[in-house]
């Protein structure tokens, strides 16, 4: 049925998407919190920047990543010189591309849940002796857990499907950056690739469905079956 090469593609896709989502999670939450709760100069600009990957063509996002994070890019050159890290043509580059594309969706989901937290509850916690940080940990964070889960799953499925930015920034290298969508695309380019394409496409659909089901289950578990948590 599924060949060893196809298994490797699935594993690579899962690795890239997991790393992308786990790495983005704290950044996305911090951005969501800033945008939901703080007024500061440049807030609209930050909001627009976060949403940019959602509205510009993915190829353009990939090209921008190449300019910034490529070996000669301002950030890419520094990463290589000081940390010895190269992103282009590496699976880590594919993860970065997926992370950037997933970021706006994750921020949106989390921001909605932070907006929905009743700030009067936080005020009540403060009068009971909670510092800002303690009130955040014990009130805001648990109440936004379903939003975090939803954001993570949205980000994960978006990463699994990422194509344009990945192929532009990280290229289509077998075993390194050829994730499921890139492998399907490659299969379509070669004669006789239809069998592999069908199998990989079915696997893509199943993985996305599984992610949705897992998120439903996680959300139900995190709210203990209580219906009033947003």
């Amino acid at each position: 049925m599924i060949t060893a090469a196809e298994w490797a593609i699935i594993q690579l896709s899962l690795k890239v998407s997991l790393v992308a989502v786990l790495g983005t999670l704290p950044v996305a939450y911090a951005l969501a919190w800033l945008l939901a709760r703080r007024q500061f100069p440049g807030r609209s600009l930050l909001d627009a920047l976060v949403h940019l990957p959602l509205v510009v063509p993915p190829v353009v996002t990939g090209w921008l990543l190449l300019i910034l994070l490529g070996r000669r890019g301002p950030i890419g050159a520094m990463l290589e010189e000081y940390l010895g890290v190269t992103l282009v043509f590496q699976w880590t580059g594919a993860a970065v591309a997926a992370a950037v594309m997933a970021l706006p969706l994750m921020v949106r989901a989390m921001r909605l849940s932070i907006d929905a937290v009743d700030r009067r509850l936080v005020a009540a916690a403060r009068t009971l002796g909670a510092s800002r940080w303690y009130a955040f940990r014990t009130i805001t964070l648990p109440l936004t857990l379903p939003g975090i889960m939803a954001g993570a799953v949205l980000g994960f499925t978006r990463s699994l499907g990422e194509f344009g930015a990945t192929i532009t920034f990280a290229a289509n290298i077998p075993g390194e950056t050829r994730t499921l969508p890139l492998a399907i695309y490659t299969g379509l380019q070669v004669p006789g690739g239809e069998g592999a394409v069908t199998r990989l496409a079915i696997i893509s659909i199943l993985l996305s469905l599984a992610a949705l089901l897992v998120s439903e289950w996680l959300i139900r578990r995190s709210t203990n079956g209580r219906s009033h948590v947003v």
Binding site: D118, R120, A124, T127, L128, G129, A130, R226, S227, V229
Partner: protein
């Protein structure tokens, strides 16, 4: 002179069109605040609790300066030691009743007033509610849990914002009696906000009347 004031509240604050101006001092440990709705009763409590910073003023309770605009003193909310019973209760719906009660109790171990846990639970009649979720409680139960949560947080003073509103008469009378008992039992300054003269008359003769201006 020389007698410690329980309350010294001088403040000026404007919210929208509403201007709140208070100049009040009292040696009596239990006072009531009355006035028509919208006059700023809750704003006054929020200023005392530290949730709102008044434009100018000085707030001293039980000899402790909480706020003084001329001296640039403003104690942080969590360090003011308010036992604030909000008008809308504000129980944490994601925590069971027992965890709601323990929330402030854990944070301020340095007990300011030795609260007798068991006795308060018994007085307020909430022993059977400890394992419940707040969403499953009735209005009267929510009020009683909110009062207990504030008292358990080792408060230095109590702020009660219309704790009997939206309760039926019988239940209201019962809770008022509990509050009277609590006040005597833990002996800390108390500010009771209400627009019902019958309620305040049972608790204290010292009334701060807020008038619209």
């Amino acid at each position: 002179m020389g007698v410690a004031m329980s309350f010294e509240i001088v403040l000026n604050h404007t919210v929208g069109d509403c201007r709140l101006s208070v100049d009040f001092a009292s040696q009596v440990p239990r006072i009531a605040v009355t006035g028509p709705s919208g006059v700023g009763k809750t704003t006054l409590l929020n200023c005392i609790a530290g949730l709102i910073t008044p434009e100018t003023g000085k707030i001293v309770i039980g000899g402790r300066v909480l706020f003084d605009s001329t001296e640039r003193i403003s104690i942080r909310v969590e360090q003011r030691g308010a036992g604030y019973v909000f008008q809308d209760a504000r129980l944490f719906n994601h925590l069971r009743v027992a965890a709601n009660l323990a929330y402030g109790e854990r944070l301020r171990q340095a007990g300011h007033s030795g609260v007798d846990r068991e006795r308060i639970i018994e007085t307020l009649g909430i022993g059977s509610l400890l394992d419940r979720w707040p969403a499953s409680l009735s209005g009267g139960e929510i009020r009683r849990v909110a009062i207990a949560r504030a008292v358990f947080a080792h408060p230095r003073f109590l702020l009660l914002d219309e704790p009997l509103s939206s309760l039926d008469q019988e239940r209201a009378a019962e809770i008022l009696t509990m509050i009277e008992h609590l006040g005597t039992a833990i002996g800390i300054p108390m500010i009771y906000v209400s627009h019902q003269p019958e309620e305040t008359a049972r608790l204290t003769d010292t009334i701060l009347q807020l008038a619209p201006r």
